[in-house]
Amino acid sequence: MPATYPDSAQLKGRDRKISEALLNKKRFRVLGLTPDDVIKYFFQGNAAVAILVLVLIMVFLLREGAGFFGQNLRNLRIYRLAGLEYVDFIKREVEAHTELTRAANALRMRQFDAYLKEGKTIEEANEALAQYDLFATAFGDTVNEVRSIASDMTEAAVAIKEKEQIYRDTLEQKAMLLRAGRSAEAEAVVASSVDFKSEVEALKAMQPAFLAANVEFASKIKAALALGGREPLQAPYMGPFNQLKKHAETYLNSFASVEAQMARWTNDQPIPWYESVTAFLFGREWLTASFWQDWYGVIPLFVGSLLVSAIALAIAVPLGVAGAIYVSEIASAAEKGIIKPYIEFISAIPSVVLGFFGVAVLGQCLRAVSQTPWLSWFPGFPMSERLNSLTAGCLLAFMAIPTIFSLAEDALNNVPRHFKEASYALGATRFQTIVRILMPASLSGIISAILLGFGRVIGETMVVLLCAGNRIAIPDFTQGIGAFFQPVHTMTGIIAQEMGEVVPGSIHYRALFMVGIVLFIIALGVNFLAQRIVKRYRISIG
């Protein structure tokens, strides 16, 4: 039946129709793009912009921050060259003495208060303390000679450092003139470099005077200690007093090593380049805009940030996770409808408002609580400061709860329902099902929720700036729990506080950028870890 076959012309026509349909030439296009393409490129573009911005931020941070190490190295070298390091041996000795004097005065204060409580009048109390005062005054005065030598040497060293600064400024000026093409004027500017060797010789010439004064100092201390008599204080205060005496003895014994260090010291010992890095990463002091020597050690800020975050997590993790468990497993639909929006609303509160609350209310409340007499057994109570790491930690916990709660709840809800049903069908209680099935199955999700909560907390700025007390010092961990009630400063706080005041390009400016880089790396690391954990969790649930 050949007639029923389509002839070749017909065939060709049909093929063309099919191929046209397949190529879909009539489809709506803008600039040759279909709507699907437009959507695709739009989102690809968004992703590309996000990545680009991230890269730019990193490049910028590194560019601004990297110069820090060179500048810090010079900072450290001049510290040695100009003899500041040398003078610091003496200054530290003087400071240690000041510490001891302060302790002695504090002890007097306690005894004095005790006398007043006993019913003595002020005159009587002073009378009773006469013996102790003999000791305390004498002890306080012992240092005078050494202190005056130290301040002479300080001046001398600062003068050397200033000469160096002037030399550098002149060079700068000359370079600027040259760049401006005013070479004649540049010629006229004379920069004379500092001869550190001979300058420091002058400084070292004061050493014999110091040594003599130091011997005197030691014998005076011994005499002062003898002045205290047998029992200048009442029994309960004799323990601390003897402790103080012991400290004074150790202090005296340290003189020999100070003198030896000074004898050994020369200003031409080179400082290796890596010290600039270690001085930043492991430096225990952050001291800026000082007339003497600036230190850029990140440790106090890092510890402050970590301490505040640890407090925040210690509060937020139990509450956030328990809340998530409650909402996802126990609460009725009505309760869910109330609790969830409320918790999620917390994250909408501007952090400056929270900080304000911390300053105005929470700090005060916490301190009032710590001052109640029947809580005085608690270590670290009463708190001496209203704004401290606990205040900031509590508020940060409040901010971290929504993050931890929402992500942990997601993780729990992601556990397939049939695991839960299987457990109940075997006669498990709700508690058993939560603890033995749901928690293990969502553990990595919960851990990553906690990590992201940590990321949220360590990056928070406003609250810590307002409420952490902003004292740049490593908390005294020998006080145990009391360390949590001390004011700290944080990495975010210091950037926010100081960035506005620094000269762009200065070492201080670059140091702040380095702190920013440390923060950035921590945040990146935490997020990366959280994502890795979530990925593993997906696989394990399968």
Binding site: K420, L426, P440
Partner: protein, 278 residues
């Protein structure tokens, strides 16, 4: 109430299990349902259902999707309690003569007596051993030897022992679908229930795995009362003694399986079985 329930639950199945030696006491209905109405909120899912499920037999529930088979099955171990807004409007469910719809019934004890195997095999993301031991561990059994024994016995009971005895401590999720479903059956029988509910246990399995599970059901019937929901007519025909046909939340007909399949009383049953709807 709880005490009587537990004691009767403990004694009665023991008496019933006497059948292992003698003939099964099929005259004693294991589950009795009287005029049961069940609601999901406002949705009236089960309407006036009355039926009796005999002990030591396999009872199949058939019917088109959405007719309430799973709902009824989940009433037997009160799994519907987990869904908010569900309630029994009317009627009674008695297991071993005890009304389990009473809110005072201890659902934990009930679920230990009435085990369940789900449509989608759902072993926990734990090892095979831990899966089987779970039911005992939550009852406080710590004794390692006892657990070992029960695990082996249950896996043998589920015809899985030989296949997995060398990998008891590897993840149950690494097994094939059929093996996973048998792990779930082993897990259910490890707590020694008297009744096992199965909700389309083979719907996700290939024919070979299905055959194995069916064979297993046949074995299990000696020791347990089984209620199985199935969409597969041949399966209902092959492995059940009794069949109940549901339609739109109502029980249309229940009787001996041969009778339902060869000579149903109701026209709707005949239409469904012959594949004219559903």
């Amino acid at each position: 109430m709880n005490a009587t329930f537990e004691t009767r639950m403990d004694t009665l199945p023991q008496a019933a299990r006497g059948s292992q030696q003698g003939a099964p006491d099929t005259s004693d209905p294991m589950i009795e349902i009287d005029h049961l109405d069940f609601y999901y909120g406002a949705n009236h899912a089960l309407r006036d259902i009355s039926l009796q499920i005999p002990g030591h037999q396999v009872t199949a529930f058939i019917g088109p999707s959405g007719c309430g088979k799973s709902t009824l099955l989940r009433c037997f171990n009160r799994m519907n309690d987990l869904i908010e807004g569900t309630r029994i409007g009317n009627g009674q469910i008695r297991i071993h003569g005890i009304d389990i719809s009473d809110p005072a019934v201890d659902t934990i004890a009930l679920r230990r007596q009435v085990g369940m195997v789900f449509q989608k095999s759902n072993p926990f993301p734990k090892s095979i051993y831990e899966n089987i031991a779970y039911g005992l561990q939550i009852q406080g059994v710590r004794d390692r030897r006892r657990l070992d024994e029960v695990v082996e016995k249950s896996l043998r009971g589920a015809a899985l022992w030989d296949e997995v005895k060398d990998r008891l401590h590897t993840s149950a999720l690494g097994l094939s679908g059929g093996q996973q479903q048998r792990v779930c059956i082993a897990r259910a029988i490890a707590v020694e229930p008297s009744i096992i509910l199965m909700d389309e246990p083979c719907s996700a399995l290939d024919p070979i795995a299905t055959a194995k599970v069916e064979e297993l059901i046949h074995e299990l019937k000696k020791n347990y009362t089984i209620v199985i929901v199935t969409h597969n007519m041949q399966q209902a025909g092959r492995c059940s003694d009794m069949t109940a046909f549901f339609y739109l939340g109502q029980l249309i007909e229940m009787g001996k399986t041969e009778k339902i399949f060869t000579n149903p009383v109701q026209k709707q049953t005949e239409d469904y079985i012959s594949g004219r709807f559903g």
